[in-house]
């Protein structure tokens, strides 16, 4: 594959550096989340996250070097690979915290549900790249996307990984709507979704149901899940306006926060940096998403636009759901804060998503 010189000059440095800034802030916070006052160090996690970042950048540049129009050819193989990995997880996966999510690769435990989020974007983009019917798609036209999305969602749901399943569902819906679903069809679909709720409820493990119920009625389990939500809220709230200062957070220090360096990293950040810090962080996410939407609007063709939209929706839903659950407005479902939470699979996947967007961005001038 020949790399056009013009491509290098059009490399989207803004997006690349913006993403790196998030990872840097993330590592600084991971350091704090694992900081042991007595020992004055934070263990190996921050440096491991750096390692994952290196891996992520490598993945990203590989993706950038391939013209995004190859999606047409690569979408299904990638999708197939994810499907196989998710099935493998089901049979051979490592379990942790009551669910089976990881495949041990020796040096690295891959969590296939993370890249699976990208797979759904790729196959949807491939499907929606041709211009839509004049009055938009009706449900009958969309059986293929549904058939593609359902197995991924079900496989993550039975792991059980409710958070990823929800993200997959939301990203799918976002793309279908952007791809051009008729309003009438959308309403019909929403109705069907509501009808599916009881079935979905049956599929949930007892502890997941417990979480949903705990959310709907926090008094239900004040000694278990409700306790974590309260502790998380105490962490955020006690940050007040300007925070307690870096490495001065106390809630995470005493292990009151569950998963303080992964899903609950935002609580650690909020405690130390206060509302001011949160405002800056959320504003930065907002800016990142708006910037990506600009690329979306300026994309050369429909394929590129849809592709970017999918990636943006991944980013968007992660941020919204993660912050909502940590701040106690949503059930605790286990979704990482993108580019920020600790975790190799998540970070590499998000870097890959950024890579896809840079890819589209820099190729908008080439023909």
């Amino acid at each position: 594959m020949q790399i056009d010189r013009r491509l290098i000059s059009h490399f989207d440095w803004t997006l690349f550096l913006l993403a790196l800034a998030f990872v840097a802030m993330g590592i600084v916070t991971i350091y704090s989340a694992n900081y042991d006052i007595g020992a004055e160090h934070a263990g190996g996690l921050p440096s491991r996250q750096l390692l994952w970042l290196g891996l992520g950048i490598a993945v990203m540049f590989t993706v950038i070097s391939i013209d995004y129009h190859y999606v047409d050819r690569l979408a299904y193989p990638f999708y197939g690979l994810m499907l196989v990995l998710l099935v493998l997880v089901f049979f051979f996966g490592h379990s942790g915290g009551g669910s089976q999510r990881w495949i041990d690769l020796g040096f690295f435990r891959l969590q296939p549900s993370e890249p699976a989020k990208l797979a759904i974007v790729l196959v949807m983009a491939k499907y929606f790249q041709d211009s839509e019917p004049s009055r938009g798609y009706c449900l009958r036209d969309l059986w293929a996307p549904f058939a593609l999305a359902t197995p991924l969602i079900l496989l993550t749901l039975i792991q059980p990984d409710l958070g990823t399943a929800i993200i997959l569902g939301l990203v799918f819906m976002s793309m279908v709507l952007m791809g051009g679903l008729r309003l009438k069809s959308f309403l019909g679909l929403a109705g069907a979704g509501l009808a599916f709720l009881p079935i979905g409820w049956q599929l949930l493990r007892p502890y997941q149901r417990q979480r949903v119920l705990t959310f709907l009625d926090p008094d239900r389990d004040p000694l278990g899940a409700g306790y974590h939500v309260i502790q998380s809220q105490i962490a955020i709230g006690s940050g007040e306006l300007f925070g307690k200062g870096y490495l001065r957070g106390s809630q995470n220090r005493l292990d009151f926060l569950p998963a303080q360096h992964t899903d609950f990293i935002f609580a650690v950040f909020s405690e130390e940096w206060g509302f001011a810090g949160c405002f800056v962080l959320l504003a930065a996410y907002f800016a990142l998403i708006v910037y990506c939407l600009k690329i979306f609007e300026r994309a050369k063709d429909r394929l590129g636009a849809i592709l970017i939209f999918g990636m943006v929706s991944i980013l968007f839903w992660h941020v919204i759901i993660n912050v909502s659950m940590v701040a106690g407005v949503m059930p605790v479902v286990g979704v990482p804060l993108p580019l920020f939470s600790y975790g190799g699979s998540s970070l590499a996947s998000m870097m890959l998503a950024i890579g896809v967007m840079i890819n589209v961005s820099m190729r908008r001038y080439t023909f």
């Binding site: 709507l177 952007m178 105490i234 709230g237 007040e240 005493l254 949160c278 429909r302 636009a305 908008r364």
Partner: protein, 638 residues
């Protein structure tokens, strides 16, 4: 959020959406406005939530975060009671106090502990040692200074609470086995959950430090007995004292398990076996309800309730007499002459002999190149079936065995439930063994040799049974051929007295027997006890007519001289059997008594059976005592 958000938001959206309209796919462009709209609202929503937490309620949360003011106090559900058939209390849980210490709540743990030691009249250094051992744990974790502390300690700690920051008492139900070792093997015991088990059980709501049934009914009925733990989410002050309860989950006590066991009868059986190793199982012949099941030597489950020390545990499992074994279901012994009951029934049903015809017993039975001996030197002389049972003549049954063949013998043995678990609610029940040609071929890849049949005919050889199986066999003989599954639990009741589960008699087999067969066998069994020359004369009672059969299970094979059991070293002495039912005319209770190394069944086991039967009759005849006992049991249960 602004009161009129529409205008500024719309402005912002318009700016955002209009910035780069160059060459996007035009049909998508219209939708971007909606996207921006959702985006702005979602982020404003998050920010306002954060503003509420961090600015509006910031001070309150800061306060709560200091010293981590929110604590979880867990209250384990009170374990259910176990009562006997009349409602007499066998196991309950009494309140006990654990002495706890939370190092975080005091400025100087050492001086606090030293002060505590002073108040308790103990050396403070011991307490500090316990504290030092637990230093690696987080400072907000409670350290257990003492379990089940005495009343003086409770009073001292309560009185000096203000001087002892971080020292608290926790009420904890402690298991109490009213009669100690009497029914230890049935009731079982509890133990703390190990770390490995905890991983599995965590999702069921168990926590570290919880106790779980490890043996007997406590284990088997864990689900029912355990109850649901509750607890409180409390706000505490800087000294760890509770300020207010934020949330409370009420604990649910476990269900009450009503046994078929008769506590008083159990007591009689336990007393009778005192100082011996053995077992007594008694069954209601019309339902299979287990009335008594004693196994000795026993252990005291209360030792487990207070926390067994490792040397105590070691001595229990190393004891040669194996006190942890429930001999009634785990002991597999040759049935000895008690098996002649099955032989007689098989012979009569198959028509293998004329019961009235007499054979001559010279004291041995020549077969092949071997002489099988009768237990009585010189033999019983001229013997018919009745006399053969009453005097337990071996030679008669050697001959009968040859006529029946091992497979027919096995068929009747199995029909009466031998060679197979009774399935009586116990996990660790053993099968016993009923040999036949098929078994021999499978096990040893050898044919059955005719020379092996005589041993089986008198209940020796490969044949083994558990005492429970023999008691159940006897019940079937007594009730006319119905085999019930022995059971120990009558019903399960919730705390409010509602019946959760009720267990009925369960038939597991019906043996079609000619009335004449039953008649003859029962008459002979009655004469074993009451007839002239009967081997079970020691069981003869003035209170109740008993029918039974003695047996002696050889521990080592005697090839040489006729040795009396007493002449053998203790562990080589024979096991003594007595199986019986009563009353003869209207059978109600069947039992099996086994005394390990007791020698001859008639002497060692039969008198114990008599004691149990007489107690049973006494209990039947004095319903007033029962009512009194029930009242007693209930007052104790409170």
């Amino acid at each position: 959020m602004s009161k009129k958000p529409t205008f500024p938001v719309y402005e912002l959206m318009a700016i955002l959406a209009d910035m780069g309209r160059k060459d996007a796919a035009p049909e998508l462009r219209g939708r971007t406005r909606v996207v921006y709209f959702i985006l702005i609202f979602a982020f404003l929503g998050l920010l306002s939530r954060l503003a509420i937490l961090q600015i509006a309620h910031g001070e309150r949360y800061t306060f709560l975060s200091e010293n981590n003011r929110i604590r979880i106090k867990r209250v384990p559900g009170t374990r259910g009671m176990i009562l006997d058939r009349r409602g007499e209390l066998m196991v309950d849980s009494r309140p006990s106090f654990d002495l706890l210490f939370v190092p975080e709540d005091t400025e100087s743990p050492e001086s606090t502990l030293r002060l505590l030691g002073k108040y308790l009249g103990r050396n403070g250094n011991e307490l500090i040692e316990i504290f030092e051992e637990n230093k690696s744990r987080p400072a907000f974790d409670e350290i257990i200074l003492g379990k089940d502390v005495d009343w003086a300690t409770v009073v001292a700690v309560e009185t000096h609470q203000l001087d002892l920051p971080g020292v608290t008492l926790r009420v904890r139900p402690r298991r109490n086995y009213a009669d100690g070792p009497m029914a230890a093997h049935i009731l079982g015991y509890l133990g703390e959950i190990g770390p490995k088990q905890l991983k599995i059980l965590k999702e069921q709501g168990y926590l570290a430090g919880d106790e779980i049934g490890r043996y007997g009914l406590e284990k088997k009925w864990e689900e029912v007995l355990k109850g649901q733990s509750g607890g409180e989410q409390v706000e505490v002050d800087a000294l760890g004292r509770r300020v207010r309860v934020l949330h409370e989950v009420v604990d649910v006590p476990g269900d009450t398990v009503h046994l078929t066991l008769d506590r008083q009868l159990q007591q009689t059986a336990f007393e009778a076996l005192k100082g011996k190793q053995g077992t007594i199982v008694a069954i209601d012949v019309h339902s299979g309800a287990i009335l008594t099941m004693v196994s000795t030597p026993a252990f005291d489950p209360n030792v487990f309730a207070r926390g067994i020390k490792s040397e105590e545990w070691r001595s229990l499992i190393k004891d040669r007499l194996r006190p942890l074994n429930n001999r009634a279901i785990q002991g597999q012994y040759p049935p000895g002459s008690t098996f002649k009951i099955i032989m007689a029934i098989a012979g009569l049903e198959e028509g293998a002999m004329d019961p009235d015809a007499k054979i001559f017993d010279p004291g041995f039975f020549p077969f092949g190149n071997r002489n099988f001996r009768d237990w009585k030197k010189g033999g019983h002389g001229s013997v018919n079936l009745h006399k053969a049972i009453v005097e337990s003549c071996d030679v008669y049954f050697y001959q009968l065995g040859q006529r029946l063949g091992v497979d027919k013998i096995a068929k009747y043995a199995r029909a009466f439930g031998l060679g197979e678990k009774t399935g009586a609610f116990f996990d660790d029940e053993k099968d016993g063994l009923v040999p036949d040609t098929a078994w021999k071929r499978k096990r040893f890849r050898q044919p059955w040799y005719p020379g092996e049949t005589p041993s089986v005919s008198i209940g020796q050889g490969y044949l083994t049974t558990t005492p429970l199986q023999l008691a159940n066999m006897m019940a079937a003989v007594a009730n006319g051929g119905t085999l019930y599954r022995p059971r120990i639990v009558n019903k399960v009741e919730s705390v409010d007295g509602a019946t959760v589960r009720q267990y009925q008699a369960e038939k597991i087999g019906t043996i079609e027997l000619k009335p004449a067969t039953l008649q003859r066998v029962r008459e002979a069994l009655a004469d074993v006890v009451s007839g002239a020359g009967g081997t079970g004369a020691a069981a003869r009672s003035k209170v109740v007519a008993i029918a039974g059969k003695t047996g002696t299970a050889q521990v080592i094979e005697m090839k040489g001289a006729y040795l009396k059991s007493e002449q053998l070293s203790y562990f080589n002495r024979d096991h003594a059997w007595f199986v019986a039912f009563a009353p003869v005319e209207n059978p109600q209770i069947a039992l099996a008594v086994l005394v390990e190394h007791g020698g001859h069944g008639g002497a060692a086991a039969a008198p114990l059976a008599k004691e149990v039967f007489e107690k049973y009759i006494e209990l039947q005849n004095h319903p007033k005592d029962q009512q009194q006992a029930r009242a007693e049991g209930e007052s104790r249960a409170d």
